[in-house]
Subunit: 270 residues, 3 copies
């Protein structure tokens, strides 16, 4: 594996910003690689919510410079037998627990392989059993960012854990059922229906107008940007990740509709 | 325009810290200018609250080194015809939507001009219509921080949008009515009455003692620091931005008084 | 005093992240030392809660590189006669109010001395009476990080303020009463009972099994990591700071047990 570290490290976790967990990890890393520069992606992942952590990192990672190390810790199994993992793509390294958090990496077309992180000499000593973010993942990520070869940190593995993300489901010949996979700060409802799927459905359904509903509430047509919606009813658009997103102009759609993550979204023709 | 970039970029937005929006913008910028260093001013601006965003950046911007680029995104009109803007003062560049967020810049005594940001070759391609923070403002700010001349990014404009901030209002001959324009984390109530106005009133009113009230609650006199207040009633002081601020020693004044932003403050003599 | 600054500055405060206080302090510091790099430890210390601020910084500071300046501001007495302080250990400088926030520093085995920070020429001018974070502590910390000798900033003092932290209390011959001193984001309850004390008790009590209870709820035995607990009842472990911590696998122990900071924890043998 050939990886040219850029000196940039992103962090994603469920540690929050009130406790000193994140600052402590950064301190540990700066002792190993004083030149490191950090970018926080999010530390507000709901506690132990691996799917949300995965979704969050997935939508951000490819915007970073080649050579970035992405450290992510959402780790309900800390201390147990779940493996610490390094995953490698053409441009990035990923370091964190092998619990599905990096599922999207394994389907990246430039994915090059995964390693179990076993070389304890790169861990903080003595490494405890309750805060591997500090004792295992942070030091390993810092050593990797400083140029330590991946092969020195562990062995190649071929069975990294993959989580099943909710997939849209075809219902009969004229409906597809998707799901809200994220609610953002503005209350916008992000579904797992991609623009590509939407357009395939549209042509498959003879270019008839596709209707969208959630909790029996009809959604106005697909518009291009938020300002094109209405304050009277929710609309949809293809968002900045290419997903169908339901919003309510000037309001919080999640609150107004009473919708949470996991709610079903219906696309159909009549 | 002559601007010597310091390599420092501040960020102000209503994106929050739970979603990956802010991290994504930083990734985009580091790809363009890997040496950039970021300082977050706030990402907790209430959603789409341009006035709060403006107030927040206004109280912080002048403390940064000359050559700082201030990127700010509170952008309910994203995707519509509102222009992307660059504003220039002697020491700083400001990049964000032309929706009044930078009103205070245009009255900075060192203001040098505003530019519409139109050179699409500096945008992320393809630029979407829903996240100009990532696709338009971040890349433009990063190119500017890397030395791209402002003139290459767009054309001079002479009508940037200005928001009317609430102004104190004279009521008869013995009263001025101000307004709470911000409530801080401690529950302190920041008004739009400046120390300068207060002192002009005082001499105009013959140096009689000025009384202050809010929601019919009388406020103790003006003291110098929080510890000089009392735990029995609210007091006021001139805060670190030179504004009259109402506080309650050891408590959260906003909660105790039931006051929100927008509440009127009365200064009067009897 | 001999201090080789690393160019790394940590920040701990009760300023929150919504207001521009923290960004403003960083701007002030970058004007003095443009090469500074910041690591936020926490800005979510509950308003004016010196004990929590102290606990937070105490658990993180030693993980940073030698030469780090730790700036901490939880400062209910701002503007009053409480002194601004510099504290020195072999590896670190601490800058902030002399109100007990740095109590743990004075018992660090490498503690070298404390200084009153009095040289006003290093303050922001004019320094106000309400935001010493910006006007006094940030500039002083930045000058120190840039190599200004401590002796130039103030005079040696021998009576820095120390706060009494809650200590475990022996009750009769078979019980020790501790206290919850922190509740983390996951709802884990961190007590002031160290692993060392626990093991001393255990041998003092003839290696009989130690029982733990809180609010009359018995706690399962001490396990090694969270996954070894049960979803049926709370368990305990020695956490990453070496303290007895009560958790509830897959849940928020604080919520499930109705426990807040300050609650008593009982260790006893029968």
């Amino acid at each position: 594996m050939d990886f040219k570290a850029s000196g940039i490290m992103t962090l994603t976790s469920d540690f929050g910003l009130a406790d000193p967990f994140v600052g402590t990890m950064k301190g540990v890393m700066l002792r190993i690689n004083p030149a490191l520069r950090f970018v926080d992606i999010s530390h507000q992942i709901p506690p132990q919510d691996i799917l949300e952590g995965s979704f969050c990192l997935q939508s951000a990672y490819a915007y970073f410079p080649s050579g970035t190390v992405h450290l992510a810790v959402v780790d309900p199994g800390v201390g147990s037998l779940r493996r610490p993992l390094i995953a490698v793509t053409r441009d990035y390294l990923f370091v964190g627990p092998d619990n599905g958090l990096f599922s999207f990496v394994f389907s990246d077309p430039t994915f090059q392989g995964a390693y179990g992180l076993t070389a304890e000499k790169y861990f903080l000593r003595p490494a405890g059993a309750t805060f591997h973010g500090r004792d295992v993942f942070a030091p390993a990520a810092a050593w990797l960012s400083a140029g330590t070869p991946i092969e020195e940190m562990g062995q190649r593995i071929h069975d990294p854990m993959t989580l099943k993300f909710p997939e849209p489901r075809v219902v009969g010949t004229s409906e597809v059922q998707g799901e809200i996979i994220h609610v953002d700060r503005f209350g916008n409802l992000i579904s797992n229906i991609s623009q590509e799927l939407y357009e395939r459905l549209r042509s498959g359904w003879g270019n008839r107008p596709i209707r969208i509903s959630i909790l029996a509430q009809g959604i106005g047509r697909i518009v291009r940007y938020y300002g094109e919606g209405s304050e009277e009813e929710p609309f949809a658009l293809f968002n900045s990740s290419g997903l169908v997103e339901i919003f309510w102009k000037g309001s919080n759609a999640a609150q107004k509709l009473g919708v949470k993550r996991g709610e079903k979204v219906h696309l159909y023709v009549v």
